[in-house]
């Protein structure tokens, strides 16, 4: 479950955040549209992902995995390479089918694509590419004005704007984004529960460009509910060459785990 949560965080990051934008103080909708326009990387890709999880009284745990993505059908494969206990475990999604593979039992467990995986934080939306504008709309103040302002995040000029969910099936009904004013990169995101309690904060600390798109390669997720829980996600070795179709098969995942 812990691993799945981490994967969910990772997917939240790569799904929502590889955005680029430049312009003056914009309307929130146009900001969201521009963000989502830059979300999808329309190419096959593979990358190495490292997650460092810190929990109070539990020390630090490091996870390492390989991520493969096929563009034509948005299929993906994840295989853990560390720690030893997770090595060989993996996830494979093709179309509407989503499997979890456990090396110890050498079994595939089918997971519903829309299912909250194992009851963890990883919900369906983490694995889907639903558009930001379909999910969120600008939040307005009592006068009906969009809540957006220009400010600084550290020394960087940013737009800080608030959005609220349009639909009920999103994890967080309220969010605040901080995006750079110069290139529109998202630097910080706060997620709130339905009672507007701050639940998590995400920092996107380093980006790289892949085929003209931005990919956050260093991210920090802080659990604001249970203080002391935080996870760092590092993405490296991004390769965008076409991947062999045999990678996205159960047999390949099984063989990798041998």
């Amino acid at each position: 479950m812990r691993t799945r949560t981490i994967i969910a965080l990772f997917f939240s990051a790569i799904t929502v955040l590889s955005s680029g934008y430049a312009g003056d103080m914009p309307a929130i909708d146009s900001l969201l549209k521009k963000m989502e326009n830059n979300i999808s990387i329309s190419t096959d890709a593979r990358a190495k992902v490292m997650l460092t999880q810190q929990k109070p009284n539990q020390g630090v745990k490091n996870f390492e995995m390989m991520y493969y993505r096929r563009d034509k059908d948005n299929a993906f494969l994840i295989v853990f390479s560390a720690p030893e206990a997770e090595k060989g475990n993996g996830y494979l999604r093709i179309g509407d089918n989503f499997w979890m593979y456990r090396r110890n039992t050498r079994t595939f467990q089918h997971i519903n694509r829309d299912e909250s995986i194992g009851g963890s934080d990883a919900s369906g939306e983490d694995f889907e590419t639903r558009k930001l504008t379909e999910l969120y709309k600008p939040a307005a103040d009592s006068a009906g004005n969009e809540i957006i302002k220009e400010g600084k995040l550290g020394s960087i000029a940013v737009y800080r704007f608030e959005v609220r969910a349009k639909v009920s099936d999103v994890s967080y009904p309220y969010k605040i984004f901080w995006v750079r004013t110069d290139n529109g990169l998202l630097l910080k995101e706060q997620s709130f529960s339905s009672s507007k309690a701050l639940m998590s904060t995400a920092y996107y600390r380093k980006y790289t460009t892949v085929l003209g798109k931005f990919v956050p390669v260093l991210q920090l997720f802080i659990d604001e509910f249970e203080k002391g829980n935080k996870t760092t996600v590092e993405i490296s070795g991004i390769v965008t060459e076409k991947l062999d179709d045999r990678i996205f098969t159960k047999a390949y995942l099984e063989n990798l785990s041998k």
Binding site: G95, D96, H110, N112, R113, D114, E115, S116, G119, S123, G124, E125, A165, V167, S168, D169, V170, S171, Y172, P173, S191, S193, S194, S195, A197, M199, F225, E226
Partner: protein, 588 residues
């Protein structure tokens, strides 16, 4: 017969010491049998009456949205309650049952919790009040404190949970949970009562008022959670009531009547959903030819197919976005959604003229966003029926799971449903006999073990009976010869010995029954602290629970007497077959 009975009784008390010893052995066997049976029945009763009943009711109506078991929500409360009202006339109580998993933080300590709603709105019967009191033995606070919202959302929790979370009366407890729409929710709760759990299952949940958990979990005003139905005579009615509710909940075709706008044109239409499992998509691809659009995309998870004439009326082309609006059943504002048309059906395709066929996922998103009212009869006439080739792949209002016979079958079907990736709501109606058939099996297994152990014990005891009888016959051989010589019939001699044994067995088993009841009383007094040990589920308020039944008690007594008679028959027959002369000559 009366004379023989008198002789048998006299013979029985003539050999007091021997018969008392033998009687004690039989009584002990009877006591063990009845005690063990009462204990296993007690376990079953505890599981059924105190655990299964509270967790799933005598009959339950539960749901699964998007294949997620924790999404226990149905968006039309009236539909469910009407079916229950009509079909469950024997119901004493029908109430919502909500249990949500979450994370709670007390004073510097966090733990996983289950938040359980308690319905405080209705009046409790005296029996229910007593049950609540025995389940919630409050050490601090009161049960009714759940109604007092002056300091926040009040909760009751077990002393073990309070200790782990380091909270006391009046302390705040923060919780985070994922609601029924998968939306994250958080709240601050206030400890309004700490209780001593009646069994191990009661030590996990945190109890709060039903309305509070409904709000926290994101239930809308017309949403309804799983329903638990309590019946007067569940043993006889539970399955029948479940069957009737199941029949009353047969779903129809999911239909949204509304209007669409595109390219400045407007047209009334009917939106239907199509199943997106591989078989359904392939089937649809074969049956429906396209006039325009990409068939791979149209018959995919994201496909939206429009009827030929409707497309012409709206001047829609493949790839266009249309805006679809409809009125809600409960929500007067209704709903609006945008669909990108991926294909236009050929004029000869089996799709009605005014239909928009939407992939299951996007269709149900709209359907549940604002539940539409039932379609008008004139609209339903033109909708595909079972004679239409595409009928089998159209999305129903919800999927009604077939009735199951056992817990294993329920689990298997749930797993299959999860795999089917149905995007709507699945409804399941079960009686406690299906949800807890494992409990019945457990009781059966315990009874079987008891019976086998008892029989082994009796086998040993009955060897004693046979031996005693043989000794008696041997000692009384000349007496047998005498009574035969003065005219007693063979059958009477046989009956005399059989009755002697039967009387002994009857008296002994009655004494054993008395002993069993006395032992039950004594054992019930003993307090057993099991802590968090799961074996604690076998206890009620830390005491063993016995549930003797009249039928089982009488049956065991009868069984003992019958076995004793059976055992005595052959020695008695042998005695009766002795010739009077030989018997009288017998000398040792």
């Amino acid at each position: 017969m009366q004379q023989v009975l008198r002789i048998s009784y006299r013979n029985l008390i003539r050999q007091k010491r021997r018969n008392i010893l033998l009687g004690i052995a039989i009584a002990f066997g009877a006591m063990v049998l009845i005690l063990a049976n009462s204990f296993s029945h007690g376990i079953s009763k505890v599981l059924f009456e105190r655990i299964v009943r509270y967790t799933s009711g005598h009959v339950s109506v539960s749901y699964m949205r998007n294949g997620q078991m924790m999404n226990q929500v149905f968006h039309d409360d009236a539909r469910i309650m009407e079916a229950i009202r009509k079909a469950a006339t024997e119901a004493v109580r029908s109430e919502e049952s909500i249990g949500m998993f979450g994370r709670a933080i007390g004073n510097g300590q966090a733990d996983n919790v289950i938040l359980v709603g308690v319905d405080m709105s209705g009046k409790l019967t005296e029996k229910e009040q007593k049950e609540y009191e025995s389940n919630f033995k409050l050490l601090y606070g009161s049960f009714n404190a759940l109604k007092d919202k002056s300091n926040g959302i009040p909760v009751l929790l077990a002393e073990q949970k309070a200790k782990y979370l380091k909270v006391k009366m009046g302390d705040a407890l923060r919780v985070r949970l994922t609601g029924v729409t998968n939306q994250m929710s958080s709240a601050q709760l206030v400890v309004a009562g700490i209780f001593k759990p009646a069994n191990v299952f009661m030590s996990f949940p945190i109890f709060l008022e039903l309305q509070d958990i409904r709000r926290l979990a994101g239930y809308g005003p017309h949403d309804i959670a799983a329903i638990q139905i309590t019946l007067n005579d569940p043993q006889h009615t539970a399955k029948k009531v479940a069957d009737r509710i199941h029949d009353a909940l047969k779903p129809g075709l999911a239909v949204i009547e509304g209007a669409a706008q595109c390219r400045g044109e407007r047209a009334d239409l009917v939106a239907l959903g199509f199943r997106t499992d591989s078989a359904s998509r392939a089937f649809l691809g074969v049956k429906v030819k396209l006039a325009a659009g990409d068939s791979a995309k149209t018959f995919s998870y994201e496909g939206v197919l429009i009827a030929y004439r409707l497309a012409a009326a709206l001047k829609v082309k493949a790839g266009d976005t249309l805006r679809f609006s409809w009125k809600g059943k409960y929500d007067t504002a209704g709903g609006t959604i945008k669909y990108v048309v991926t294909g236009i059906a050929d004029s000869g395709a089996p799709v009605p003229d005014d239909v928009l066929l939407v992939n299951e996922r996007d269709f149900y998103r709209a359907y549940y966003m604002s539940l539409p009212p039932a379609a008008r009869p004139e609209v339903m006439i033109s909708m595909p029926d079972s004679s239409n080739p595409i009928w089998s792949v159209l999305a129903p209002e919800y999927m009604l799971m077939k009735r199951c016979a056992t817990t294993q079958e329920v689990t298997k079907i749930m797993r299959e449903m999860g795999r089917a990736r149905f995007k709507g709501i699945m409804v399941s109606v079960q009686s406690m006999y299906e949800t807890a058939s494992a409990v019945l099996k457990l009781e059966f297994a315990l009874n079987l073990i008891t019976l086998i152990a008892g029989m082994v014990l009796f086998f040993i005891i009955l060897i004693g009976v046979i031996n005693t009888l043989r000794m008696t016959i041997r000692e009384r051989t000349r007496e047998i010869g005498t009574v035969r010589a003065i005219g007693m019939q063979k059958s009477d001699v046989r009956l005399m010995f059989i009755l002697e044994t039967a009387l002994l067995a009857l008296f002994a088993s009655l004494v054993g029954t008395g002993g069993a009841f006395a032992a039950m009383r004594v054992l019930s007094w003993v307090t057993i602290d099991t802590g968090d040990n799961p074996l604690g589920m076998l206890l009620v308020n830390s005491h063993l629970y016995f549930a003797p039944t009249v039928i089982a008690t009488v049956a065991y007594n009868a069984l003992i007497v019958v076995i004793a008679i059976g055992t005595a028959y052959f020695p008695a027959r042998r005695a009766s077959n002795l010739s009077a002369a030989n018997a009288m000559r017998h000398y040792e």
